[in-house]
Symmetry: C2
Subunit: 353 residues, 2 copies
């Protein structure tokens, strides 16, 4: 009904009917005495705007405390400044550093990261990717190479850069940033062989769906076979990692055939075994050497400290972000291969081997 007498003479910007109430690019343009498109051009530093207008715009922005509305910008350009990232989980010891470095690197360039956790479920991953698509993301990041058909279709059809992290598979289409789990398993086996161990077992992850551990086992098995030794895999039935580690240790050291070294799918399992060995009075590494994977925060603090393999978590996040920024033209090409980024894992030798 708007029956208020008009107050157009007010100094305040005219009340909008719906908006958020914040200053818009038009307010800035009016105050600076230029067209709004000139403000837009100046603020994104593309196109040409004279120094004089630039100063007037700067002053208006400061006076109005103007913050560009990125939602509107994303809609207009159909290319939002967001990047979606799906990880198995956020709080675990594994992916946290990747998330951190990925987020920080993209934030620095004005991009926001949308996060979702899949909990190792391909269906949850698909839901997350679908949700991300609603944000018109500039790029998408997923973990590993195992996706549902629906996810694959969405990733392929999105027409934006897609990065697969952690698990490196050069023959896949998306940008790869990761390391070879097969090689990690081989690294572990070679390390133990070089220390003279002969009866080397591998303990699977108790968490179903951790397919990367299977690749590590295959790498371990390949090296053992090269050396004429028979691979020996144990799959725990206990669900909790520490319990599974204890179970595996008992099974592999108390039977008729005794392992003299055990490679665990991750440091959690290895820690469970290490604690169990102390309680049982089994000397590590004299009676049986143990090693893990992941180099979790506690691994150097155990007694004996745990030999493990450190995956390049921070580097993965940073390089993934860089490759995305390059693909989006936000960062100059550095001449390195853009699609295939194979990183190495560091074997951290400590007391348990």
């Amino acid at each position: 009904m708007k029956n208020k007498p008009d107050e157009e003479a007010n100094e305040e910007p005219a009340r909008k009917r719906r908006g958020s109430g914040r200053a818009t690019i038009h307010d800035v343009a009016r105050l600076a005495g230029v067209g709004s498109i000139t403000v837009s051009r100046y603020l994104k530093k593309n196109g040409y705007v004279s120094a004089e207008l630039g100063e007037r715009i700067d002053a208006a922005v400061a006076q109005l405390n103007y913050v560009p509305n990125l939602v509107a910008g994303g809609l207009a350009s159909s290319r939002g400044k967001v990047v979606g990232m799906v990880v198995p989980n956020i709080s675990g010891p594994i992916f946290a550093s990747t998330i951190q470095s990925f987020n920080d690197t993209l934030n620095r360039h004005g991009y926001q990261v949308l996060l979702a956790s899949s909990y190792f479920s391909a269906e949850q991953e698909e839901n997350a990717v679908r949700a991300f698509l609603g944000w018109s993301p500039a790029a998408l990041v997923v973990t590993g190479r195992f996706h549902t058909k629906g996810t694959e279709a969405m990733l392929a059809g999105a027409g934006i850069p897609v990065v697969e992290t952690w698990d490196y598979h050069p023959r896949r289409k998306p940008i790869q940033v990761g390391y070879s789990n097969h090689e990690v398993g081989a690294q572990a086996a070679r390390h133990l062989l070089s220390k003279g161990y002969k009866r080397i077992a591998f303990v699977q992850n108790s968490v179903a769906g951790d397919l990367s551990a299977i690749d590590r086992r295959d790498g371990y098995a390949a090296v053992l076979e090269e050396h004429g030794l028979e691979p020996w895999t144990y799959a725990p039935t206990e669900a909790a990692p520490f319990d599974a580690g204890r179970q595996a240790l008992e099974a592999l050291t108390r039977g008729r055939r005794k392992a003299d070294a055990i490679v665990f799918a991750n440091d959690n399992l290895a820690a469970g075994a290490l604690l169990a060995s102390q309680r049982a009075g089994l000397q590590v590494p004299q009676r049986c050497a143990l090693m893990g994977f992941g180099d979790y925060a506690f691994s150097s603090l155990l007694l004996p400290s745990l030999t493990t393999i450190r995956p390049p978590g921070r580097e993965i996040g940073e390089i993934a972000a860089q490759r995305i920024l390059q693909a989006l033209g936000e960062l100059p090409d550095d001449g390195k291969p853009a699609r295939l980024n194979l990183l190495g894992c560091e074997l951290v030798e400590r007391e348990s081997t």
Copy 2:
């Protein structure tokens, strides 16, 4: 130039000049033979849409693989389905579980979380909040109560729910979800007093800017004074936590006056001290008891295992998300106090005390 002959007779939807190419609500409406506003109403399940039209819309959505454009929706309603969260860091052992539960809870209700890390810097926090504002967030979450003037002004002026997490201060305006660091310090002191320790020292955090540790020290000091004992605070100069812990242990056990129990600002410092004590042959807890704060993943694995206080990280994230959803009308009021959410910390008694 577009000199191609027109191909308007094609069955494909007409090529748009700018759009993302994905199906829009209008495509769905056309296919279902309804108005686009009806599709909108049906999909958000408010307003009334007949069952028959609903089915036709469902079919069209499935056929076109339609994903609503949340950017456009956010712009139109000036109320985006995003929530911004600033934490000191993402990958540390402290905030990861809060981020995880916060993110998961909001994701489940169709909201996306934008993350930024402040690294304990109020200026970086201000930058993050300003960046978030560009997304017209539905709510904002910050950590602690120490902000710049600019941040305070933005939070107050945003006109959206604001949550302060971790540090609980009932007299502040924003929604509070956290625990009392003062009480944590008191808890630690009471625990050690109850075990008979008398010369109890407190070791500050070596990281500047961790103001929560100062509150814990004050709580510790208050309890000691209540019992007629003099507080004794040590501030390490080493930057790395483990080194700082070792330094503190040496200073507090080798001087003329010897501590018989030490409260550390966090478990990292305590772990550094614990490892140093083993090397030095100092019996823990017989010669000196040690306790930390945080209950990090390694704390139960140390030898002796570390007594510590577990902050409710997961609960903080979940309750913060619930309060936000309630404030936004997405979740029914559960009758609990909406603004003040004081959670308790659990003292985890282990071998080191």
